[in-house]
């Protein structure tokens, strides 16, 4: 029995995942971007703090740490297949990715959310091109329920009431209603939140806002929100820290990008089945993530800006999103422009095979979205 779907008028909520998130996994980084599922496979791959200025044989990428493990693998394999091109990937943050792509200090920025119209008005030459489908998991550390074969059911309302301090123990009756026949322990709940601006916070609070209007009215959604003070609450700087801390903290609940699921499981965390808009609890699997995205495919606009949180698919996982590449259509060097086009076209075709995606639990783009992405890529010149 899951929570009923919430579709109240949510004043202020709306839109999109936006943009500029200072994203997902915070902080500048070096090799620390990798997570439990991915590996840097190529000697040619360079992960740097800052992209360097380069000729057409070297592409600089900076941005989403959620995407970083996959980008690392792409970069290594692409160089093996196209030896003349090296991709320098820098795991920074989505906000930095957008900023660098906009300023021309990186050839490709990556972000968990699409550009805001504010960014596009500031720099009209920017495109946001979907690279893969991602999702967000909700992890917990509840003794006795962390086995990968066992999952606690949660919905937006209950999560909101945990994060606003109304529900303080796992044995609370409101959680029990979602988990009929299961007796959860009377362990205090320790909510984990992301510090600073984060694309993951945007996705998570969007889910809470769409499912629980009270949260939307009181707190709302955003890359950063004024979290209600909850005793014992912990604040973490990155996806990696979220799942690592959760693994060490009994009673925790946390949210993180799907590419950190393997790491979370490795840390001994469980992950929840989340109620979708139809009220059905769904786990983040290839089937449920794809089902959720499928309901948006036909209405995806040519610039591929679309929010897919809490969509209408009755069998879909509710927190899904595209990982985007942000690229300028106005490249100074035609050879560099061609190199960028070739790499991005490779990423959304060859790079979208499960060979690359499985380890980080991303899903491939639907064919019609690939077609739209190719049309956008063709504009880079």
């Amino acid at each position: 029995m899951m929570a009923g779907k919430n579709r109240m008028p949510l004043i202020a909520m709306i839109a999109a995942f936006l943009l500029v998130l200072t994203v997902a996994c915070g902080g500048a980084s070096t090799g620390g971007a990798s997570n439990g599922g991915a590996s840097n496979g190529g000697a040619r791959l360079t992960v740097t703090d800052k992209p360097a200025g380069t000729g057409p044989g070297t592409l600089t990428e900076t941005g989403s740490t959620l995407l970083a493990p996959l980008m690392s693998n792409w970069a290594a394999d692409y160089h093996r297949q196209v030896p003349g091109v090296t991709v320098n990937a820098a795991a920074t943050s989505s906000g930095t990715g957008i900023k660098d792509a906009s300023a021309g200090t990186a050839d490709i920025g990556t972000t968990d959310a699409y550009l805001s119209s504010g960014d596009l008005v500031k720099n009209t030459s920017l495109l946001n091109i979907p690279l893969v489908i991602s999702a967000q998991q909700v992890n917990y550390n509840v003794p006795g329920f962390n086995d990968p074969g066992t999952h606690i059911n949660l919905d937006g309302k209950v999560l909101a009431e945990i994060y606003n301090g109304t529900i303080t123990k796992w044995s609370d009756g409101r959680i029990a209603i979602l988990n009929k026949g299961v007796r959860l322990p009377s362990v205090p709940i320790v909510p984990l939140v992301r510090s600073g601006n984060s694309g993951d916070t945007f996705l998570f609070t969007s889910y809470l806002s769409t499912q629980y209007p009270v949260w939307n009215a009181d707190i709302g959604y955003g890359t950063s929100v004024a979290w209600p003070h909850v005793p014992g609450e912990l604040s973490e700087a990155s996806n990696k820290d979220m799942v690592d801390t959760c693994g060490r903290t009994a009673g925790c609940v946390a949210y993180a990008g799907i590419s950190y699921l393997n790491r979370a499981i490795g840390n001994g965390c469980g992950y929840a089945a989340l109620a979708n808009a139809a009220g059905n609890p769904e786990l983040p699997s290839g089937t449920t993530i794809t089902a959720s995205v499928a309901s948006f495919v036909s209405s995806t606009p040519p610039n591929e800006t679309i929010s897919m949180v809490n969509g209408p698919a009755p069998d879909g996982y509710p927190i899904v999103n595209y990982e985007y590449a942000v690229v300028s259509t106005s490249q100074r060097d035609p050879a560099k422009a061609k190199a960028i086009r070739d790499f991005l076209n490779w990423a959304i075709t060859t790079g979208n095979s499960m060979t690359y995606l499985q380890a980080v639990r991303f899903e491939p783009l639907p064919q019609s979205v690939v077609t739209l992405a190719k049309a956008q890529i063709a504009r880079i010149g």
């Binding site: 008028p9 949510l10 839109a15 699409y114 805001s116 960014d119 500031k122 601006n197 929010s307």
Partner: protein, 425 residues
């Protein structure tokens, strides 16, 4: 030899002089009449064709901007938005579509204008389809998806529709200025003036020669022709001076500040729209705030800003309204600063209330500022119509007067010299 000796005779000289003066009189009438006809037609074109087209282009530009901010703001009202703003959005779109039809019909031959109109025409249905999708998603309970479509719609408005509308307005405004320049251009008038001087010189020399040759002080025919020439030249010059002044004033103190204010209005709508989109997108970046600071600096008040420029070139009641707009803009900015401060603190509930509350300073301040600016635009356009119509009407009966005067000159010259010629027969 015989012909040369005949030509040297006084009757022959009188006949040549008669023919020359008749031709000069008729040429003066034709040239001056044509000049007046051309200028009068151009002045009429300014008032009856170019100015309405410029107003249509300006209205289309403002309508799209208003539609965008109205649709975006209405979206925040939830799944069941109030009817009034929805109707306002539909009115804006209908107005823009009607203006587009008007402008399409007048774009013949101007490739730049045709291209911009083509771009606008292609984008308008796309824009409305995105808004419809956003409204539909919102009504079905998917506000986040709807919000992303609202953002896509706004991007279409800001990246395609509004730039195209601005181009159309700029080209149409240039056509208005060109028509006004043509209506008051000096070269044809100078040519007519030179011909008038030549005619006057010939008339003067002819009368002096006749006076010396015939010992008659006055030749009444030539005197009448001279008087007709002087009257028609003075009338022509005075009319041009009045028309030029009126049309120039209409452009300088009416049409131009109205255009400047229209741009200010569109910028104000952009600030408001960005404020709402920021609330929708919650991107956590500062791009909307950066855009706000930049656009605010363009709107004014302050030296060189749109409001100050418009105030400097407006006259009459518009000035008071622009003064009010400046004061209202300053207090509205204070409310906007508060909005962005709340955004920075992630205090979305307070930010939402401040942006959407009907009596909040951000919301009511926007309405007041828009009202000030639009009222000033109306005053400026009214000033333009008054001045330009006066300029166009100044030509009045002048064309007929010049033709009659030139015929009178020709007849007077002919009869005035015919009497002298007859004296030698």
């Amino acid at each position: 030899m015989a012909a040369r000796s005949w030509a040297a005779t006084t009757p022959a000289k009188l006949r040549v002089l008669s023919v020359a003066l008749v031709l000069l009189s008729l040429a003066w009438g034709a040239l001056a009449g044509w000049t007046v006809s051309q200028h009068s037609s151009a002045a009429s074109d300014v008032v009856n064709t170019e100015q309405p087209l410029t107003v249509a282009a300006q209205q289309m530009y403002q309508s799209i901007s208003d539609a965008d901010v109205t649709a975006t703001t209405t979206f925040l009202s939830g799944a069941e938005p109030p009817l009034a703003p929805l109707q306002q959005y539909r009115r804006d779109i209908a107005t823009a579509a009607a203006d587009l039809t008007t402008l399409k019909g007048a774009a013949n031959g101007n490739s730049q204008l045709t291209a911009a109109i083509g771009k606008f025409s292609a984008s308008l249905p796309l824009y409305t389809s995105y808004v419809a999708q956003a409204q539909s998603d919102n009504a079905l309970g998917y506000p986040l998806t709807g919000g992303s479509f609202m953002q896509v719609a706004s991007e279409e408005a800001h990246l395609v529709l509004l730039p195209a509308a601005k181009t159309i307005y700029s080209l149409q405004d240039a056509a208005l200025t060109s028509a006004s320049d043509q209506a008051t251009s000096l070269p044809p008038l100078i040519v007519a003036g030179v011909l008038a001087l030549i005619t006057a010189f010939v008339l003067f020399r002819a009368q002096r020669w006749l006076s010396r040759r015939t010992h008659r002080v006055f030749n009444y025919g030539l005197l009448t022709a001279s008087a007709a020439l002087v009257i028609s030249v003075v009338w022509l010059a005075a009319t041009f001076a009045v028309a030029r002044s009126d049309l120039s004033q209409g452009i300088t103190y009416g049409s131009r500040p109205a255009g400047t204010l229209a741009q200010a209005s569109i910028d104000v709508q952009q600030v408001r729209g960005d404020q709402v989109l920021n609330l929708i997108s919650r991107s956590g970046d500062t791009s909307f705030k950066d855009n706000y600071q930049q656009v605010r600096a363009e709107i004014g008040p302050g030296p060189g800003t749109l409001l100050d420029t418009a105030a400097a070139s407006s006259r009459g009641p518009a000035v008071d309204k622009i003064t009010a707009a400046k004061a209202d803009a300053s207090s509205w900015y204070t409310a906007n600063d508060q909005v962005y401060n709340l955004d920075l603190a992630s205090a979305y509930a307070g930010e939402t209330h401040l942006v959407t509350g009907s009596s909040s300073p951000a919301s009511s301040g926007f309405d007041r500022l828009e009202s000030d600016i639009n009222n000033a635009i109306k005053d400026d356009l009214s000033a333009f119509r008054t001045s330009a119509s006066a300029g166009a009407n100044a030509f009045g009966p002048l064309e007929g007067v010049l033709i009659v005067a030139s015929l009178l000159m020709a007849v007077a010259c002919f009869f005035g010299l015919a009497r002298r010629i007859r004296e030698y027969q």
